[in-house]
């Protein structure tokens, strides 16, 4: 059976796994965005916490993915939860770092003027700091997503959802005539998912960036 035939025969399960893959990535990135932004703001505000926060999120990225997924099994069992937690941890660094950089690049004169006109600190953050830092933050999210789309394949090891299952099925049946097709199918699916995410972020950046700073 050639690869094209394999694809047409397995279109439906492949599509379902791709959807699962997208879901698990989206969920992880969503959580990482909230957490990463919060940590980024904290790091930006406190010179004391900044090195600590950045060091911890950098270290997370150096843990081998296989080990990280396995580490959470005793706590969270198998399936989606350990997969999501591991992916969130992987996604943190680019988001935290870009949040710090983005907030740091906001013109101090602009903030001084805002304060001098009587804008409270919350309003200043939501109306001025965040919108101006947003394009940089979003770039961090985009990088995180690319990283996580790939690593999510390994989630199949802990019974996580997604296209990784296709690849591992192929690896388990090495030597059989389908092995290569399975691995190729899963990999191709991941590449397509990554490209779709990237297109989405390009669009999102366009829509959510204020016109004056585009």
């Amino acid at each position: 059976m050639d690869f094209y035939e394999y694809l047409t025969d397995n279109a439906e399960p492949l599509f379902e796994e791709a959807v699962d893959h997208v879901m698990v990535v989206a969920m992880s990135i969503g959580i990482a965005l909230v957490l990463g932004c919060a940590l980024g703001v904290l790091a930006h505000r406190s010179a004391r916490l900044r090195p600590m926060i950045l060091a911890v999120s950098s270290t997370l990225l150096t843990i081998p993915s296989l080990a990280l997924f396995a580490m959470f099994i005793p706590l969270l069992g198998l399936g989606t939860p350990p997969a999501v937690v591991a992916l969130v941890l992987y996604a943190l660094l680019p988001i935290v770092r870009n949040t710090v950089v983005g907030l740091g690049s906001v013109d101090r004169g602009v903030l001084q003027a805002a304060r001098g006109m009587g804008m409270g600190s919350w309003r200043r953050f939501l109306r001025v700091e965040l919108p101006l830092a947003w394009p940089v933050v979003l770039t961090g999210v985009r990088v995180s997503t690319q990283v996580v789309v790939g690593i999510a394949a390994i989630a199949a090891l802990v019974n996580g959802p997604g296209l990784g299952n296709e690849i591992f099925r192929g690896l388990r049946s090495l030597g059989s005539p389908f092995a290569l097709n399975l691995v190729l199918g899963g990999t191709l699916g991941i590449v397509v998912v990554a490209l779709l995410f990237d297109a989405f972020f390009i669009l999102l950046r366009r829509v959510t960036t204020a016109r004056g700073i585009r």
């Binding site: 004169g109 602009v110 003027a113 006109m117 409270g120 016109r211 004056g212 700073i213």
Partner: protein, 381 residues
């Protein structure tokens, strides 16, 4: 005496870990409707003093009164909405349109949409920018001078009685700066705000200030008086030093041509008029030259008795030089006279109509310091 708009009472700011206060026991009364300039060398605490007024910096001790009310412990955000604020970097919000930028404080104060919109247009008009053209622009689509004007408009949006301006013209090229300063003075004539203006440039202080506070270290007031008084009576060697050389020349910046006695006795005639009549007028005046004016009274040419022998006046004599408006400063008039090598300046009104003559002697009397003036007059410009 009426209540001062701003009163600082023994205001002190000490930063933690520093042996000396940055601002030490400063007391000052700032009268309503005047421009008070805080001027001093870098690091003397003039900006800190200003930022104590809207409590961007909290004082360590002392009190601040705004219009008689003690605001030392008032809610800082509410206080700042009552005080216009312009800084050197201007700090327009890059992601807001011009209209949204100007509307910042009115929106914080909860004005309704229509009132905000009307106010934005009114302010754009006031700073000389066409509302329909500029309302929807973003800061990056503006020139430096335009940004500065929007910055001032934004600070005046909610019509605050007090404005704080920290070197607002500091980052602008000299030509635009001069124009903006003149516009600013004209605007102030209309709005009559109490303005605290910080600069390190003594010439800017003299040009703009109704009153100047020359500050020394730790924001200590070396002298607080009108520009004229400071220039003619510096209180200490420090002040003298800070004013720099040529105090008398600087005084020329303070008087306007229209304020000194003009010579209105010069004989004039219409350039398209009768030559014989002009000749007779010159003879009876006893002067050496006669001024030819056009139909609207604008000066055209100087002619003497010899030039009046001919019959065509339109090319007789010399074209006029050193024409200045009545609103110009003596310094500008003097500069014109030196540049055009003319013994007198022709003073005209706004539409260019002839008003009178200004000669060196009049300028000299106005400076009340002849020797220095003579020295300056010898310097080629």
């Amino acid at each position: 005496m009426t209540e001062p708009m701003i009163r600082l009472d023994k205001l002190t700011k000490t930063y933690r870990g520093q042996p000396h206060p940055a601002v030490d026991q400063v007391s000052m009364d700032m009268p309503r409707g005047e421009i008070v300039v805080l001027v001093g060398p870098s690091g003397c605490g003039k900006t800190t003093t200003m930022e104590l007024i809207n409590r961007l910096i909290e004082p360590t001790s002392g009190r601040i009164f705004l219009d008689g009310e003690d605001v030392t412990n008032a809610d800082p955000d509410a206080l700042r909405r009552r005080i216009g604020y312009v800084i050197q970097q201007i700090g327009l919000f890059p992601h807001f349109t011009v209209a949204e930028n100007i509307a910042t404080v009115p929106k914080l104060l909860g004005w309704d949409k229509r009132r905000v919109g009307e106010r934005v247009d009114e302010l754009l008009d006031m700073v000389g920018l066409e509302p329909s053209e500029f309302r929807g622009r973003y800061p990056k689509q503006l020139s430096g001078g335009q940004r500065q004007r929007i910055g001032v408009a934004r600070a005046m949006a909610a019509d605050p009685p007090v404005m704080l301006m920290d070197e607002p013209f500091g980052a602008i090229d000299p030509i635009t700066r001069d124009r903006l300063q003149n516009e600013f003075l004209r605007l102030q004539q209309q709005v009559q705000k109490t303005i605290v203006f910080v600069t390190h440039d003594i010439d800017e202080a003299i040009k703009l200030g109704d009153r100047i506070a020359i500050l020394g270290e730790r924001s200590q007031i070396a002298q607080f008086d009108t520009p004229a008084a400071i220039l003619s009576n510096p209180a200490s060697p420090y002040v003298e030093d800070f004013i720099g050389a040529g105090a008398s020349l600087k005084r020329l910046h303070l008087s306007r041509v229209g304020d000194v006695g003009l010579d209105t006795g010069a004989p004039t005639a219409r350039i398209d008029g009768d030559v014989a009549a002009a000749r007779e007028r010159l003879r009876s005046s006893g002067r050496a030259a006669l001024l030819l004016l056009d139909a609207d009274g604008r000066p055209q040419r100087w002619v003497d008795a010899g030039d009046l022998e001919g019959s065509d006046l339109s090319s007789a004599g010399e074209p006029v030089a050193a024409v200045v408006q009545a609103g110009a400063t003596l310094s500008e008039a003097l500069n014109e006279m030196l540049t055009s090598n003319a013994g007198v300046a022709l003073v005209v009104d706004r539409s260019g109509g002839f008003q009178g003559l200004l000669d060196f002697e009049t300028v000299m009397v106005a400076t009340r310091s002849a020797p220095e003036f003579y020295r300056a007059a010898k310097v080629p410009s």
